[in-house]
Structure formats: C-alpha cells, structure tokens
Point group: C2
Chain length 157, copies 2
C-alpha cells in the first residue's frame, strides 16, 4: 500500500468486514440484554447495520470495485471484549456494560467513517463521500441514542 | 462481575492497561511518521498519555484501590492494526493512515472515559468523576488536533 487510494480501499474493506461481523454479533447481544428497552435498541441497530452493509456495497460499486472484506483486528478485539461481558457478567450491571461495549464499537465506526468520507472527498469520489457521510450520520445518531439509554435508563436505575 | 462497581473497576483496569500499552506503542508511531509536524504531534500525545497514566493512578487511589491493569482485547486489536500500517505502508499515504489509526484509538478512549466518568458519578466517586472528566476533555482535544492535522496537512497535500 502506497497511495491514498490504496489506503481508502483497504479501510473500506476493513469496515465492510467489521459491519458484517456486527451483523453476526448483534443478535447475541440482543439475546444477552436484560429487558425490552435495550433488546429493542439492539434490534433496531441490527437492522440499521444490515442497511449499512448494503450502502457500503454501493460505495464499492461507485468506485468500480466489488465489495469484499479484509480481517480487521480492531473490530475483532472490540467484539471479543463484548463477548467477555456476555460471558462474565450476570447481575444488575450487565446492561450498563453491554451498552458501554456497544458505544466503544460505535466510536470505532465514527472514527473510520470520518476518515473514509474525508479521503473520498480528497480522491474525488463524490458519490462515495455522500454515502459514507450518510452512514457516519447514522452512527453518530446511534451513539447518541445509546448514551441517552445508558444515562437515563440504566445508570440511574 | 455483577455490580456497577465491579464493572467500573474492571473498565478502569482495562483503560489503565490500554494507556500503558500506548506509552509503549507511540514511540514506534513517532519513528514511523514522515515529517516533523506529525512526529511532534505524536511526541506531544505521548507526554499527555504518560500524564494520563498518573491521573488514572490517582483515580484508583481515590476509590481506595491500587492501580493495576487487565488485558484489553480492544486496544490490542487497535495497536495491531496500527502496527500493520507501519509494516505495510511505504508511500505518500502512510501519514494519513497513521493519523487515521491514532484517531481510532482516540475514539476508543473517548468512549471508555465517557462511560467511566458517568459510572463514577452514579457510584458517588466525585473525585474520580472529576479526574476522568479531565482525561476525557484531553482526549477530545487530542482527537480534534488529529482531525485538523489530517484534513489540512495530509489529505490536502
């Protein structure tokens, strides 16, 4: 990898892999969550994530590439951490810890999409820039929802 | 782990481990960076990170505990990703990719400190809350600096 175009494509494959891993992991989080409120929030985010996979496929298409993933160490670590919470926590704070883990994932995604849409702009990939901005806005909104849920429903319970 | 207090202590150990890993990793990033501007920014963040390790030790003390770390899968994954960039990238986009990796780490930390300081408040750990808020503000400022550097100095070069 030498050029910004190489880095863009690599990072796109990395986040495509990450979103696909989340489509597999979120049903387990939904199962592990206590109570309807968090289960519903996770279910909603799962649907949103499936939509983001489709949007990323449009991004690949817009730059003349076929969508494919590349192993992403960061998301593997974040999911492993979430799995640890599901395995080790049993009591009242399980939801709080699950929410915190979901927020760590959201922040990772916000970092990645922030970078990708900026690179898309520099590279002149206008359609990709707009699609990535759409996803970035969704991730920011999802993170705000998780913060509100964490603060109002769980930490203060 | 059952209570919010357990989760707080676990996450504190996790971020303490993460900051200590970063103190080891950042000199390698500094070495790999091209040009004085990014090298200086990384050096500055290394000093800030060392200060955060000390501040975290005060947080542990404020809750009557001795500082200790616990392996954190997420930061291991993020550092592994950064190492991959240092190993695989050679050309003009190396700085852009390094900056992006640093921002992913910053976002992870922002997520973690946001959670920790909220939990500290709920648990009545007022001193810990204030110290963690200090670090959170530093991480947000560091991330903004990296964004400015990425946008103005590297992506547009």
């Amino acid at each position: 990898m030498k050029t910004l175009s190489d880095a863009f494509e690599h990072t796109l494959k990395d986040i495509y892999h990450a979103e696909n891993q989340l489509v597999k992991a979120l049903p387990k989080v939904q199962e592990a969550a206590n109570g309807k409120k968090l289960k519903d929030a996770v279910a909603e985010h799962l649907e949103e994530t499936k939509g983001q996979v489709k949007t990323l496929e449009k991004v690949f298409k817009s730059i003349g590439k076929t969508a494919s993933g590349e192993k992403c160490d960061a998301i593997e670590g974040l999911i492993k951490e979430t799995q640890g919470i599901m395995d080790e926590m049993t009591g009242e704070a399980k939801n709080a810890a699950l929410l915190a883990a979901c927020q760590a994932v959201e922040h990772y995604e916000i970092a990645r999409y922030g970078t990708l849409r900026e690179w898309a702009k520099v590279l002149g990939h206008d359609e990709a820039h707009d699609l990535l901005t759409q996803i970035l806005d969704q991730e920011k909104a999802a993170n705000s929802k998780l913060t509100n849920l964490a603060v109002s429903e769980i930490n203060k319970s």
